[in-house]
């Protein structure tokens, strides 16, 4: 163990006498973090106080916390948008014969808008945003790697999302009737995927290159580990989607005879919006729980390598993404057919589910071995992960051919469980890291209530679609299906669930805005947490750390505290 630096000094650059004497670190000798990040962050302040100056400051900021908050903020706007679409969707299905809101084409585009915003407008960017905001602080870096690329990533995603919205409104999505708008749809999806790729590249490079001295990969916090796995999985799978988009775009623009025009978009792009590819976007949800649970239990994470292995196992979903299919378990045919079907099914559906179960079980071990206190962040996280698990289990069932659930609304229920479950976990993450991102601690009791409402909303919006799937209600809104009778009830409940989710997100944002407006200053380490981000002031300053600490365990801050934790 070398010299000591006070935790406060990590930010302020104060060096204790022991350090000066014993190890030759002099005041002002701030080690350079990487080749690229010394210039970052400090230039984000603007002297002007006008709205234009403020907008300009946000648009050009290279501070990772601002870029992350942009992603998070717009994803939450999309959460409300998608919940409203969910309400309309449910109403449309209640009785299309007597109360039709949209005609055939518009209803189809509404289905696509719902699906698109759930996955690429909400689930993926929400967690990438949290990773951008939190990961550099967690790994002890002054900045994110390639901050301008991360910033570009946000704007590409933002404008790409806008193009997709315009094209779908103008009937240009898959199976749409407007060919020009179809081109715009492909361009929009391509642009937003480039945005997500850019952001993922920044996150992965930060974790691989900008960790604090001594922090080997097996010592990085669980959330950062999950961010690394998710980012690399994104970098490996999304380009495959890009290859389809390039082909579709060229064919759709010039020929329209190889990929099936508008219909082809659904055939060749549908897998991006479906499980198992969507599992890639929820890997970080397990990381949030693994981060929050041991802090709430005031104990070091037991069986940490198993936890990291479980999180990594979820990334086997990339196999299904690369092969662009959901590998249905089909036990007909020869023994060879049965074997290959079973192996591919278990690789793409079974292993990710197993990874989630392992990560959940090991994260919860900390509760068994510690002195747990259930706070709002933990409640949101555990409930959200349970919902994600319900979605993954549903996906497992839906891909068994004999279950007869393919093409039914059951698959919509899967996506909703994953997306709304992801929103709950993300709200837990925001509650946990609010002191660092906004300098506030949210009212635990109020947020706990919202977690309960979020659980009810997610179950209400998703479970009825599972049940309606068993009643053969088709996916999307179709003409010719009798939506009257028992399924009407399930669609009403699904709409009510989406309404509740919109309410929860709005209420949460309201609580956050009120807390920030009140300016209630949060302590530097309000949760008595374990990782480096809690060693700097709240809210985290630009450039995060003024000087760096050497890390020698996966819980560096806990090492520095007087022993309070229950030994694992």
């Amino acid at each position: 163990m070398g010299a000591v630096v006070s935790v406060r000094a990590l930010h302020l650059g104060e060096i204790t006498p022991e350090v000066r004497k014993g190890h030759g670190v002099s005041p002002g000798d701030h080690p350079k973090m990487t080749t690229n990040d010394t210039h970052v962050g400090a230039s984000t302040k603007s002297s002007g106080s006008s709205v234009v100056a403020s907008v300009g400051q946000w648009m050009t900021s290279s501070d990772h916390k601002k870029i992350g908050r942009l992603f998070i903020g717009w994803s939450l706007v999309h959460a409300i948008e998608v919940a409203v679409i969910g309400i309309i969707f449910g109403l449309e299905r209640m009785s299309p014969s007597s109360m039709q809101i949209f005609d055939g084409d518009a209803a189809l585009q509404l289905s696509w808008l719902f699906r698109h915003v759930l996955v690429l407008g909400l689930l993926a960017p929400l967690f990438i945003g949290i990773a951008i905001a939190v990961v550099p602080m967690q790994v002890g870096s002054k900045a994110i790697a390639f901050p301008r690329l991360a910033q570009y990533g946000f704007w590409a995603w933002f404008f790409g999302s806008g193009l997709v919205l315009i094209s779908l409104i103008a009937n240009g999505g898959p199976n749409g009737g407007n060919a020009d708008m179809g081109d715009l749809f492909l361009m929009g999806v391509g642009l937003l995927l480039v945005g997500l790729l850019s952001a993922s590249l920044s996150v992965a490079t930060t974790i691989l290159t900008s960790r604090a001295p001594g922090m080997s990969l097996d010592m990085i916090p669980a959330f950062s580990w999950s961010a690394l796995i998710a980012s690399i999985a994104t970098l490996l799978t999304v380009p495959v989607a890009m290859s389809n988009i390039i082909y579709l775009y060229v064919d759709h623009t010039y020929a329209q005879n190889a990929f099936g025009g508008g219909k082809g978009m659904e055939t060749w792009l549908g897998w991006i919006y479906s499980a198992p590819h969507t599992f890639v976007f929820v890997i970080m949800a397990l990381g949030v729980l693994a981060e929050v649970a041991p802090v709430a239990a005031r104990v070091r994470q037991p069986l940490r390598p198993v936890l990291l292995g479980g999180i990594a196992l979820i990334s086997t979903a990339t196999i299904g993404a690369v092969t662009q299919t959901n590998h249905v378990l089909d036990l007909s045919g020869t023994n060879g057919d049965k074997l290959s079907s079973t192996v591919l099914f278990l690789l793409t559906n079974g292993l990710p589910l197993l990874g989630m179960l392992v990560a959940l079980a090991v994260a919860m071990l900390s509760f068994k071995e510690g002195k747990p206190t259930v706070n709002a962040a933990f409640a949101f996280s555990i409930l959200g992960v349970l919902m994600i698990l319900a979605g993954a289990t549903g996906s497992f069932l839906a891909n068994i051919k004999d279950a007869g659930l393919q093409g039914t609304s059951f698959s919509e229920g899967v996506t909703l469980y994953l997306a709304y479950g992801g929103v709950l976990v993300a709200l837990g993450a925001l509650t946990h890291w609010a002191p660092k991102l906004w300098g506030v601690v949210l009212d635990d009791k109020k947020v706990l209530g919202l977690a309960g409402l979020g659980l009810i909303g997610t179950v209400l919006s998703s479970l009825p679609l599972y049940i309606a799937g068993f009643a053969d209600q088709p996916a999307n809104i179709v003409t010719g299906f009798d939506y009257d009778g028992p399924v009407a009830l399930w669609n009403v409940l699904a709409a009510a669930g989406s309404a509740l989710i919109a309410l929860v997100v709005l209420a949460y944002v309201g609580l956050l805005v009120a807390a920030v407006s009140a300016g209630a200053g949060a302590k530097d380490d309000p949760w008595d947490a374990h990782t480096l981000e809690w060693s700097i002031p709240s809210p985290a300053p630009a450039n995060n750390f003024a000087s760096l600490a050497t890390v020698s365990s996966s819980e560096p801050l806990l090492d520095a505290k007087p022993s309070q934790e229950v030994p694992a």
């Binding site: 080690p31 970098l235 190889a258 020698s552």
Partner: protein, 201 residues
């Protein structure tokens, strides 16, 4: 509250640009691999019909009127290893802090890039593939156009490295190495494209 954490020694560079380039190469590799997989899928699934005399089975994939200009395609294929060699020469010179040879290698590399782009344009001119003519036309332009875009990106990277080099950045080994890594990736990617698109067709 004052808690003790061990202080850190001065930190050396962690090769951010090199690692970032490796990740970009991996992602771009998946892009090309995905496109080639689709190419093979469509080629294998192309409809077949009998010839007019009934003696042969013809696959409706690439029109028999289209002739691949083998000289240009093979020259491109053979040129890429030289590009990689020049990129590695730049790394060698950078390690020795030899600014003149480093800059020379980068200029030649950029020139090779122009030659490769020129060969691709020649292929387009000579093949005269109609983009709207079946799956082959659309997919041919999509995959070769994507490859061309990746090559132009490599040239831009080389140009940046060159200007940094002539600007006197003698400590730029990381950027030069990353540039070489990207050209190695381009060589591997084009080898695959050459084999599946120009040789196997």
């Amino acid at each position: 509250m004052t808690l003790a954490l061990p202080s850190a020694p001065s930190q050396t560079s962690r090769r951010q640009v090199l690692v970032g380039t490796a990740l970009v190469a991996a992602a771009a590799g998946m892009l090309i691999a995905g496109m080639l997989a689709m190419w093979m899928k469509f080629r294998a699934g192309a409809p077949t019909r009998e010839s007019a005399d009934g003696l042969k089975i013809i696959k409706d994939w690439m029109s028999k009127d289209i002739i691949v200009p083998e000289v240009a395609a093979n020259t491109m294929f053979a040129t890429f290893p030289f590009a990689a060699l020049m990129a590695q020469w730049a790394v060698y010179a950078a390690k020795r802090r030899d600014g003149q040879h480093r800059s020379l290698a980068l200029v030649i590399l950029f020139g090779i890039g122009i030659a490769i782009v020129n060969a691709q344009v020649a292929i387009y001119a000579q093949m005269e593939v109609v983009v709207a003519e079946g799956a082959f036309g659309a997919m041919f332009y999509a995959i070769t156009g994507t490859m061309l875009a990746l090559i132009v990106s490599g040239m831009a990277f080389t140009a940046v490295a060159f200007f940094r080099s002539v600007g006197g950045r003698d400590d730029d080994l990381q950027v030069i190495s990353a540039n070489a890594l990207y050209w190695y990736f381009l060589t591997a990617a084009f080898t695959a494209v050459w084999f599946f698109v120009y040789v196997q067709k």
